[in-house]
């Protein structure tokens, strides 16, 4: 008589707990989206939820109105609002409905698979652009509706996405703490000259390339070496030498924080984040040696009801005038080659695309990571766990 009641009580309380945790995860998503981070979010259960939530907002696609553009939030989206969204609204009379996300490609996949696409244009990173293209969740772009492919930075016009700006993974340090700071990738790996913790992104991309450069490989040849099994071994061996001193970051907001807190003496970071911190009065310095340029890209989820408008938006956002306006807000370079000349010369020096900064840069090679990313990431995770 008594026992079954207890079982039910136990079950019921565990259900309650489960529900409670579910709610917490949602909060966690919201807060991390707000802080404009790019990873560490649990969306496994959020994905299907999104697709059902969105249904209501999509079905009556307004004839005159909205184009939903999704970006990364924070200072980045603020810059896009000023330089793209608002001018676009003014020019076309359309109204852009902004949304933010955290790079969860799973969300897009869930939308496309359930046929309830409510996002018209999304800002994605290169890896997502390639994955999304393979998985058939992104529209294959018809460049005749956007612009002449020849005007786009080589490597920035992919099948399913077009580069919107160039950012870079660089490394930085605090001049207040290290007056004679590191100047090259070799210094990043030199624990004797610069003892102390370093923060690196928890991702083999950039780290393996830097290991090889520190080991003496010419940046231009990095992917030739990394394409061989010996090259991969060599990179991991070099990375081993600093492993004990590395703090791994996942969200873009972490590196400036780690540096400011004195948790690390130097850190890899996206150049815009460091530039922002400098603007806020921090004494950080960017080292451009071995910078790894990468692209933010625009893509269109497959099955959007506003395909033509989305193309119209892409054409507008890719034009030279619009692209050259971004740099004053956030130091990311244009992908439209005509836009390069339109950027203020002094400002251009802080962009990843400036010739001086590109001297010892790692070449852009999304194809390499498309082919080998899965394996290298698996090996990297195994290596991390050892």
């Amino acid at each position: 008589m008594f026992k079954p009641t207890l079982k039910v009580a136990l079950l019921a309380s565990s259900m309650l707990v489960l529900v409670a945790c579910g709610e917490e995860k949602k909060e966690e998503q919201a807060s991390s989206a707000a802080s404009n981070t790019t990873s560490t979010t649990a969306t496994s259960e959020a994905a299907p939820a999104t697709s059902t939530n969105q249904t209501a907002s999509v079905t009556p696609a307004p004839a005159t109105g909205g184009l939903t553009v999704v970006s990364w939030g924070g200072a980045y989206q603020e810059a896009q609002r000023k330089t793209i969204f608002e001018p676009y609204n003014a020019k076309t009379g359309n109204v852009i409905k902004e949304e933010e996300y955290n790079g969860e490609v799973a969300k897009i996949k869930a939308m496309v698979e359930s046929g309830t696409v409510s996002w018209d244009v999304i800002s994605v990173d290169t890896a997502t652009a390639l994955q999304g293209c393979d998985d058939g969740v992104l529209e294959t772009l018809d460049y005749s509706k956007i612009l002449d492919k020849a005007k786009v930075l080589p490597g920035a016009a992919l099948d399913c996405a077009i580069g919107s700006d160039v950012y870079a993974t660089v490394f930085a340090y605090d001049t207040a703490k290290l007056p004679n700071g590191p100047a090259s990738i070799k210094d990043l790996f030199d624990l004797e000259k610069f003892p102390g913790k370093r923060a690196l992104q928890k991702n083999p991309f950039v780290n393996l390339e830097w290991s090889l450069i520190a080991d003496g490989v010419d940046p231009a040849q990095v992917y030739d070496v990394l394409g061989t099994p010996e090259g991969v071994d060599r990179a991991f061996k070099k990375l081993d030498t600093i492993k004990s001193q590395v703090v791994w970051w996942e969200a873009g907001a972490q590196p400036p924080q780690l540096l400011a807190d004195g948790e690390v003496v130097m850190t890899s970071a996206w150049n815009g984040r460091i530039a922002n911190a400098i603007k806020e009065g921090k004494t950080f310095k960017i080292v451009w040696d071995g910078q790894a340029p990468d692209l933010d890209m625009w893509a269109i989820p497959k099955g959007t009801p506003n395909l033509e408008k989305s193309y119209e938006y892409l054409a507008f956002a890719s034009s030279a005038e619009v692209q050259s306006a971004l740099a004053p807000y956030i130091p990311y370079g244009p992908t439209n080659l005509d836009a390069v000349a339109l950027v203020d010369a002094e400002l251009a020096k802080s962009l990843p695309t400036h010739p001086d900064n590109l001297k010892a840069a790692i070449p852009l090679n999304p194809q390499f990571w498309g082919d080998n990313g899965e394996e290298l990431r698996a090996r990297f995770n195994t290596w991390l766990a050892q």
Partner: protein, 412 residues
């Protein structure tokens, strides 16, 4: 009154009783139905879908239907014949038109790293192939298509169900000789992660029990005036968001944080300790979050234990510890069993706390489920990891049931 009248009367009574009971039963079902449907829709169905996703393998069968059919007759001893290559050419042209070559490439890349771009290349080249012999043509496009291993992988991947993801979730794979072998050491990950997940959960369970038991005892024995205040101290963190509490631990544990400041000030350490991004930090933060889950069932069981038993034992000459250990403690077992099980099973699924406070060697299985769902977009692998975790939990639960007995558990 005749006999038949009595039996008539009895049967109407019976049927009337039955009718009354039926109404009650329907009412009971009606009350339970919403919860039942809710659990079915939001809990049982997703789990079933998750488990099917772990073995679901539609990519190749859908995108290369003719090749899959042709490969079904292949004897797997030598490179397939012209018929397979011809089917492959037709399929690839169709796939190229449907933009499905990326999907094929991605699927093959899971088992043969580096093949993604070669599939894309073959897709583009296939459009120009118009006449036999296709086999030669494909060998010219890339030597990959002349390797028997490629075709074995393709054949395995062409079935609608696959064990690939589940095997990989425990660091196993099908070898070239179609035997199940361990994956290469530099790719082996998940067994360690599962063991780590169980290890951290056990540690957290034990820690919450050691901390929670004395506190629960105090709460249960103090007069209500004091115990209520203490109870608030336990419940307040319990009501606070998990993320807030985890972030608070980030602040406390960091190298330049207050705990290190205090240790230095007290002269207990000469240099700042690495507290955050470590196993220590993970276990401490998780223990803090899980403490009420272990404590509350123990507390509510303790509240029901009459102090007379211990008094009786003491009056019969038992020492204080002896009386506690042989009389009091066994009576708290149902609460301990329930609290520990609750904490252990909840700990298995921890994600955000190890992600924020732990280092790379402290990530639990949920981290990898999230990684494969969000970053790699490999939902098959994510589902397989989830399925294995669920199975492991059920097995552990069965073992626990055998050892402790779920009917002995008590939440209060």
């Amino acid at each position: 009154m005749s006999v038949s009248a009595i039996s008539d009367d009895r049967s109407t009574l019976k049927s009337r009783l039955r009718r009354a009971e039926r109404v009650q039963r329907l009412r009971a079902i009606g009350l339970v139905l919403p919860l039942f449907l809710f659990i079915l829709i939001v809990f049982v169905t997703p789990i079933i879908i998750l488990m099917t996703r772990a073995v679901d393998n539609p990519e190749i069968a859908d995108s290369l239907p003719l090749t899959s059919a042709a490969l079904a007759n292949w004897d797997r001893t030598d490179i397939p014949g012209e018929d397979v290559f011809a089917a492959f050419a037709v399929d690839l042209v169709a796939a190229q038109k449907n933009k499905a070559t990326g999907l094929i490439g991605k699927r093959l890349n899971y088992e043969m790293p580096g093949t993604r771009s070669k599939v894309l290349q073959a897709g583009r080249a296939a459009e120009k192939l118009t006449a036999a012999p296709y086999k030669e043509a494909f060998l010219k496009i890339d030597p990959l298509w002349g390797e028997i291993e490629t075709w074995k992988v393709l054949e395995r991947a062409s079935h609608r169900n696959t064990s690939f993801y589940l095997l990989k979730a425990v660091d196993l794979q099908c070898s070239a000789d179609d035997e199940i072998v361990n994956v290469a050491p530099d790719q082996a990950l998940f067994r360690d992660v599962f063991i780590r997940t169980l290890g951290i959960s056990t540690l957290v369970t034990v820690a919450t029990l050691l901390l929670g038991f004395p506190l629960a005892y105090m709460l249960a024995t103090l007069p209500p005036k004091h115990s209520n205040i203490l109870m608030i101290l336990v419940l307040l963190p319990f009501w606070t968001s998990l993320l807030v509490r985890t972030t608070a631990w980030v602040v406390l544990l960091q190298t330049e944080g207050p705990i290190n400041d205090l240790l230095l000030f007290l002269g207990l350490t000469d240099e700042r300790l690495q507290l955050i991004f470590s196993r220590f930090g993970t276990v401490v933060a998780m223990t803090h979050i899980q403490l009420p889950f272990t404590l509350l069932p123990i507390y509510s069981v303790m509240r029901t234990i009459s102090p007379n038993y211990v008094r009786a034992a003491r009056s019969l000459g038992a020492g204080p510890f002896h009386a506690f250990w042989t009389i009091y403690f066994p009576q708290t077992m149902p609460g301990i069993a329930a609290g520990c099980l609750l904490t252990f099973i909840l700990s298995l699924g921890y994600y955000i706390t190890p992600a924020l406070v732990g280092g790379p060697t402290d990530q639990m299985i949920s981290y990898f489920v999230a990684l494969y769902t969000n970053k790699e977009l490999n939902w098959g692998q994510a589902s397989a990891l989830g399925t294995i975790l669920l199975m492991a939990t059920l097995v552990l639960y069965a073992v626990y049931n055998r050892l402790v007995g779920i009917d002995k558990m008590k939440l209060g």
